[in-house]
């Protein structure tokens, strides 16, 4: 299978507007030059090479940002969005745009992103042979304190550049960004729009229209997806954004749809009916919580029925010398409705925990990533517990990653490189990793990064979140993947799975409306899987109804026969 990464990424924007992406008028990148000759080759290739991705991105962005006629938001700022997929060179574009606009305007540029990503940006700056003159790198976590100081010193910036701009979903980030004394805002993100709210935020920035107007336009549209696509077309045609992306590198066979056993179906009905009774007896506030618990209980019960099949599938893949990334939920449940024989609530382990036990019983050691306690990222008092889990997860992840590493005295994990400066290959300790959906983002090294390493297969269970689903796929198919990734979706015809698949499909359709080519095979996968699960369920329901009818008829016959027997056996009474 040919790697799509050997070619430039697809220009999604050009496809969206039938090739009518505005041309840039001036080559701003040409003015940026390396301070050291020996490192200038990389920069030269970006400026003049065949792949125009980086050159186009920077020049289109600057075209817009320095244009006095461009739309401005309520604060008088002009914005541009580089919506480029993973591995398309966003970081290079961010720092080169900073350099170019500083040169163009004579004012420094401010570059902000999460603190742990700033060293990588600085390394990229060095790789390009550039220094950090005229660029202020400020960790996004320190923006507040920085701005307080900048206000006093009356500093002015040409542009505020935000790498990983999906962080703009956080109101505090939006607030500080708007207070940066800069004329423009330049956003970089592979996933800027997870939902309508986030879409409206960026759309408002890029069109200059008030956010409530955008929301009204979107919400009053007959077809939401069409309205989103239309807005993106208009923004693109007006020179407000650019979107490039690599397609998915791998194979997506049809989903495996498992039939639910009669026993599991009965249990599912019992749980739903039981919750209906509970909800009827509880007050308003508790009802809201029960609704959430019902979803979790049904999902965990549904996933529990897949453990054996997924174990078998994993064993098959391991026998084919593949590594396996398994993504699913891990939410243990003590049922509110179902009881054990001793009268205690029926307990079902989390899906991934159950799989881990099943694998261990077959002598397979897995890397197991634990989910964090809910909202532990926000509540300071939970940060200790979170850090302990994070440290353990890091160790588990390291066991699954291929490549040679050493740990420094400060517990830093360093990749070992050969004489050619290429990473050295060493096989991983584990071949299977269990990833909870809640923890699926990040982890950039789980894919097949070495040609001699085993290929990676993924097994996914349904999730309602399209974002988590796509994040999971991103663990396998990445820019530096040396081989294709197979993605297997395993579902059943339970209410829980059909509901999750239906929500997943809606989410994927929303992302597809923004034009992402990598989504296409998964949109098809989810739609087909939901269709098959629904058909299977309908057939099972029909079978059950027929069975019940037959039983009723049989019971009626037996009853009739008995009645006849009883009646006829009574002496002296005529039937």
């Amino acid at each position: 299978m040919e790697s799509p990464f050997d070619r430039p990424p697809i220009n999604v924007s050009a496809t969206l507007v039938d090739g009518r992406v505005p041309d840039w008028r001036k080559d701003y990148l040409a003015t940026v030059s390396a301070t050291t000759d020996d490192k200038g080759r990389l920069l030269d290739s970006l400026r003049t090479g065949e792949d125009p991705t980086i050159r186009d991105g920077i020049n289109l962005a600057l075209n817009r940002l320095v244009d006095p006629q461009a739309p401005k938001d309520s604060l008088g700022k002009t914005a541009f969005l580089v919506h480029d997929g993973t591995g398309t060179g966003k970081s290079f574009q961010a720092i080169l745009a900073a350099k170019a606009i500083a040169q163009e305007t004579g004012e420094p540029a401010l570059v902000t992103t999460r603190a742990d990503l700033i060293p990588a940006l600085r390394r990229d700056l060095d790789r390009l042979g550039l220094d950090d003159s005229q660029i202020a790198f400020v960790a996004i976590e320190q923006l507040g304190a920085f701005l307080k100081d900048a206000q006093k010193q009356k500093q002015q910036f040409s542009v505020a550049i935000v790498d990983e701009a999906q962080d703009c979903r956080i109101p505090e980030v939006r607030k500080f960004l708007d207070r940066i004394p800069a004329r423009g805002q330049l956003f970089f993100s592979a996933t800027p729009f997870h939902n309508i709210d986030e879409f409206c935020y960026f759309s408002s920035k890029l069109t200059g229209k008030p956010i409530h107007q955008i929301k009204n336009e979107i919400n009053s549209a007959k077809d939401l997806h069409l309205a989103v696509t239309d807005q993106l077309k208009q923004i693109t045609l007006a020179g407000g954004m650019i979107h490039r992306e690599f397609p998915f590198y791998g194979n997506v066979p049809p989903a495996e749809v498992l039939p639910l056993t009669a026993e599991s179906r009965a249990a599912e009905t019992q749980v739903i009916d039981g919750y209906a009774r509970l909800v009827g007896n509880r007050h308003f506030l508790q009802q809201r919580k029960l609704k959430e618990d019902l979803t979790i209980e049904l999902n965990t019960a549904s996933d529990a029925t897949k453990v054996d099949s997924i174990l078998q599938r994993t064993l098959e893949l391991l026998s084919q010398n593949k590594k396996v990334i398994l993504a699913g939920d891990d939410l243990p449940v003590a049922s509110r409705i179902l009881k054990e024989q001793d009268g205690l609530p029926k307990e079902t382990p989390g899906f991934l925990s159950a799989l881990r036990l099943a694998m261990a019983a077959h002598g397979i050691e897995c890397s197991f990533i634990r989910a964090f306690p809910e909202n532990s990222d926000a509540i300071p008092v939970l940060s200790g517990e979170r850090a302990a889990i994070a440290a353990r997860n890091f160790e588990e992840m390291a066991r699954f990653v291929d490549g040679a590493y050493r740990t420094t005295q400060t517990a830093e994990r360093l990749e070992l490189r050969g004489r050619d400066n290429k990473p050295l290959y060493a096989p991983s300790q584990t071949k299977v990793i269990l990833l909870p959906y809640q923890q699926v983002a990040g982890w950039p090294e789980l894919n097949q990064r070495f040609p001699q390493a085993p290929e990676v297969s993924m097994i996914l269970t349904p999730t309602a979140s399209a974002d988590q689903f796509i994040q999971a796929i991103g663990r396998g198919s990445r820019r530096n993947s040396q081989g294709p990734t197979d993605v297997h979706l395993v579902a059943n015809d339970s209410c829980a799975d059909r509901r999750r698949l239906s929500q997943l499909l809606k989410g994927l359709q929303f992302i597809a409306a923004t034009g992402s080519p990598a989504i296409a095979p998964f949109l098809q996968l989810a739609a087909d899987c939901l269709d098959r699960a629904s058909t299977l369920r309908a057939a099972q329901d029909q079978k059950l109804i027929q069975l019940q009818k037959n039983q009723q008829t049989r019971s009626a016959r037996i009853f009739d026969a008995n009645r006849n027997r009883i009646l006829s056996s009574q002496p002296g009474v005529r039937p």
Binding site: V173, I211, K215, N216, D273, R288, L294
Partner: protein
């Protein structure tokens, strides 16, 4: 899936923005706009240095709590100023409306209730399935839903005084939205969305006090 869909639909909070009576406008009486002043004086950078370097989600959490306290303080100030006004203007034609408005003051409760939400939330998360934990967590979920709809409503009606207070929310529904909703409901009790908020609040208080009074230590 029909039964399940039906079950998962509700419960629905009241989302109508209709009024059951006139809203008190304190500006003409006090000669100042307490809420506009609060908006103008809100210091976005007040805790920037103290929070610098914390993860973004934690900064948002702390900011939400600070906003909740600020909203509390602003409403407390408006009550205080109106109480002083009433003492000086007992015969004013709007005196009865002001007196009625001031009767809500007692329901504001202590300021520590704002910070107390963390203790309740963490306790409910850890204590598993029981009625009171279900109530606490369900309360927060319902409030999230209502706060989100109020934020959206306020962006469409920014000239409405009820929306103006929401400007102080800093575009966030709050981590414990029950805090900011309670302040908003007390101020605009005539809004049809408000009574349910105070109803939930009162029900929660009663339930916790009856079953786990230790959770309310320091709030009464």
């Amino acid at each position: 899936m029909d039964t399940l869909d039906e079950l998962l639909k509700g419960p629905h909070p009241v989302k109508s923005d209709q009024l059951s009576g006139p809203i008190l406008h304190s500006t003409p009486l006090l000669g100042m706009d307490v809420w506009q002043e609060a908006i103008d004086q809100f210091d976005a950078f007040a805790e920037a240095e103290a929070n610098t370097g914390l993860p973004l989600e934690q900064q948002q959490y702390l900011s939400d709590l600070r906003v909740d306290r600020y909203l509390y303080d602003t409403l407390a100030r408006e009550f205080e100023l109106l109480a002083a006004w009433l003492r000086e203007n007992p015969g004013h034609r709007e005196a009865s409306q002001v007196a009625s408005f001031l009767s809500r003051r007692e329901r504001l409760g202590p300021r520590s209730w704002v910070d107390h939400q963390e203790k309740l939330y963490l306790w409910a998360q850890k204590s598993g399935q029981n009625d009171i934990a279900d109530s606490i967590l369900g309360w927060r979920l319902l409030c999230q839903e209502l706060a989100k709809s109020l934020l959206a409503w306020s962006s469409r009606n920014h000239h409405d005084p009820r929306a103006r207070q929401i400007r102080l929310w800093q575009d966030s529904q709050g981590f414990y939205p029950q805090n900011r909703l309670r302040i908003w409901a007390l101020r605009f009790l005539e809004d049809l969305r408000a009574p349910q908020i105070l109803g939930w609040d009162a029900a929660m208080n009663r339930e916790i006090f009856a079953t786990h009074p230790e959770l309310l230590t320091g709030t009464r």
